[in-house]
Point group: C2
Chain length 446, copies 2
């Protein structure tokens, strides 16, 4: 069953016939996408990426990862947004829960995703005396947050290893031809990987953007691409009645039309927390425009059943709960009887830990449905590279169809520029003098 | 200025006179709270806790922490919900960004907050060969998730150290008199600390629940209590025009009445991520009932400016943005000029990293207000124990007032029981046979 979608526990909130009403719209969206003629059609490189990605580059990624693993205690991945969340999501989901604390691993740390002077100083303290390499990921090379971090780490490398050796420890993932980082990489001779022109940041996890950090952490990126390829074929089907990816897109839109304004992505495995963060960027940035869009939020259950659970059960009824469930856990064990049974839990004896986890999921799902929250269920057969690749493609394509149904361009992000203009004006960037004059009327504090 | 609140960048979304309209209601809420006569008044122990907490117990907490630090490489904190999030929030906010990876620290790990067989197996692998102690935190001792984890770790301790030594490595934070854990602690002679009867889980961070893990991580809990005490006096003032804690409560309610259904807590320091998680429980569990309540969500900026930023700028206009800002960073440094300036960032040279971070905040805040999102600003003078204590009290009291204005009992959580009933029925817990019969009609999958 691989990745599967089930909306049966939403049927008390919608009629199955409502799907019939939208099935022709879904066909339109499918055709627009596959004929590359909707808004944002310059950014559809991800659509057939799993069947046309550059195998030679993928081989180079694996070789580079091998080299990094041999030459370094840690890889510093410098990137933000889509150049950060995908790799982090994959590594946290698929590696050891305490990967960076285990012995004999090449650690992976992230930088350039924030501008915290404390964070970056602490990271440098942690790395003191360790051998490191850098993977700087930026289409332009001028996005401010990663560019600052790259200045700091490049300087650090040059001081520690000299200019010559530093060059061999810097891997650039950037534009194929142009931009500040590409220019620098060519001049300095950094090994470079390509961010394709037609794949936007939030859709880039299966390019070198995500693959190099993942391979460095020991993930099997070939399996991941095979999973994505399988999903490409599986979801290349305009028929809503059989395409579960499109069903997810359609059902969330139908529920949204009824006043469900927040979609809550729920997991029962803590390692999926950053998959939810990646998902939030994918859907939030694709659909949050023109004053529209389901607001994407996430919780980790059962932890947050003791926190946000009260709200989900009895708060404002504007939620959709989408559970991302792993069918077969990586590891499982049986709970034993305790002779004293002071905690009264001996009724669990003989059941496995994961069986208990599944019952918590079922119990919560049923309680929330009874409480008025429609439930969508996305099941992942196993948490491995293959199914992760499938899941990425499932969400990417669902997001494209969903955005089209919502009536937005799912592939642009015009709103991201607004804060940058203000920020550059405040920072005194040449060329932003005029903007600075427009910043009156605000109470600038902090 | 310590902790301060500023709503001036919401004034294009509300009139200041609207605060006058609610000021009498705020007075009612204040009086109800201080006269302990509103709904949930059995759970107001937190209100004057900072001036009446048990100093002797606090001293014992510090001694126990010292002992744990001497005898163990790691402390395993077993708890969920309010017995988990507060300590984690404090330790992540106030310790080294990579605390558990630094040398010569007593590591702090959390268990019992999930039922992941993978997570707990990985944690046991990580701890292999290390000396550990346990702090099990549960009012009853029968909450399932921590009780399972405690069974596992108690067994682990007894196998590794023998029954006698294991007893000396278990610290129980539980009910003063009754309950399964209290009984066990008395029988086995575990050192015990008290969860007061009149302080609910989400309000318990400044009791031994939070303080023992924090002290073990080296935090100055006396300073934290002093900060909370200062806040107690500062916010013990019914006058809305001068009480900023009450202003926060009032303004978020006024904006909610205008259709703002989501409050987004924003930070610019990644170490505040779990403060947001703690805040989500506090507000979500207190207000999410009777089909009401602002939905609490959170983002880490500037990271998420490249993710959820698009939604905030141009998506559905149902958000309030509340920024939790640190005025003075723990560490700062100046950005240097680069002779090549390939990234074009030399305009930053001579500015400090934190100045740039602040400009990102200001730029984003202004862009979001222009885009139609009211901004609330909570400033923390410095990220230290004293101000953390203040902030906790600020939020706790604001939440109590806010819940009262919303017309709910902010101190109960009736909805948390619903999933437990189903789960126990599914797990075959004795006494839940009848509930099991009521679970028909669901598509049980996963």
């Amino acid at each position: 069953m691989a990745v599967s979608f089930n909306y049966s526990n939403s049927l008390s909130f919608m009629n199955k016939s409502e799907l019939d009403h939208v099935s022709e719209f879904v066909n339109v969206a499918h055709n627009r996408l596959h004929e590359k003629r909707g808004p944002g059609s310059d950014f559809l490189g991800w659509l057939d990426w799993p069947i046309r990605y550059n195998r030679d580059e993928c081989m180079r990624v694996k070789k580079a990862a091998e080299k990094i693993r041999n030459q370094s205690d840690a890889l510093i991945v410098i990137g933000t947004g889509g150049s950060y969340l995908g790799a982090r999501a994959a590594i946290e989901a698929l590696s050891h829960s305490f990967y960076n604390q285990m012995e004999n691993t090449t650690k992976v740390y992230f930088a350039g995703q924030n501008i915290s002077s404390t964070y970056i100083t602490h990271l440098l303290e942690l790395l003191d005396g360790k051998d490191i390499s850098i993977n700087v990921i930026s289409k332009s090379g001028t996005t401010m947050e990663p560019a600052i971090a790259f200045r700091i780490f490049r300087d650090y490398l040059e001081k520690n290893y000299g200019k010559e050796e530093a060059r061999k420890r810097i891997y650039a993932t950037t534009d194929q031809e142009k931009g500040a980082l590409k220019k620098l990489a060519d001049e300095e001779g950094y090994e470079s990987f390509v961010i394709p022109d037609d794949i936007g940041g939030r859709y880039s996890v299966l390019t070198a953007v995500g693959l190099l950090p993942m391979a460095t952490a020991g993930l099997d990126i070939d399996q991941m691409m095979t999973g994505a390829e399988q999903a490409y074929y599986k979801y290349n089907n305009p028929d809503l009645s059989t395409n579960e990816c499109y069903q997810y897109a359609a059902v969330r839109n139908i529920l949204h039309q009824k006043g469900r304004d927040i979609e809550l992505l729920v997991n029962y495995e803590p390692s999926l927390q950053y998959v939810a963060e990646w998902w939030k960027q994918l859907f939030g940035e694709s659909e949050g425009k023109d004053q529209k869009g389901l607001f994407p939020a996430s919780v980790n259950f059962p932890t947050d059943l003791h926190s946000m659970g009260q709200y989900v059960q009895e708060g404002r009824r504007h939620l959709i709960e989408t559970v991302l469930q792993v069918t077969k856990p990586a590891i499982d064990f049986t709970i034993k009887a305790d002779p004293d049974n002071i905690d009264g839990l001996n009724f669990l004896a003989g059941q496995t830990m994961d069986e208990v986890n599944k019952k918590a999921f079922q119990g919560a799902m049923m309680a929330h449905v009874d409480g008025g929250i429609p439930n969508l269920l996305i099941e992942l057969e196993e948490l491995n590279e293959y199914h992760f690749g499938e899941l990425v493609y499932f969400f990417e394509k669902a997001c494209a169809i969903s955005g089209c149904l919502l009536g937005v361009n799912p592939f642009d992000q015009p709103g991201v520029e607004a804060y940058k203009k203000n920020m550059f004006a405040l920072l005194g960037k040449p060329g932003f003098e005029k903007e600075k004059l427009n910043l009156g009327g605000f109470s600038i504090v902090g």
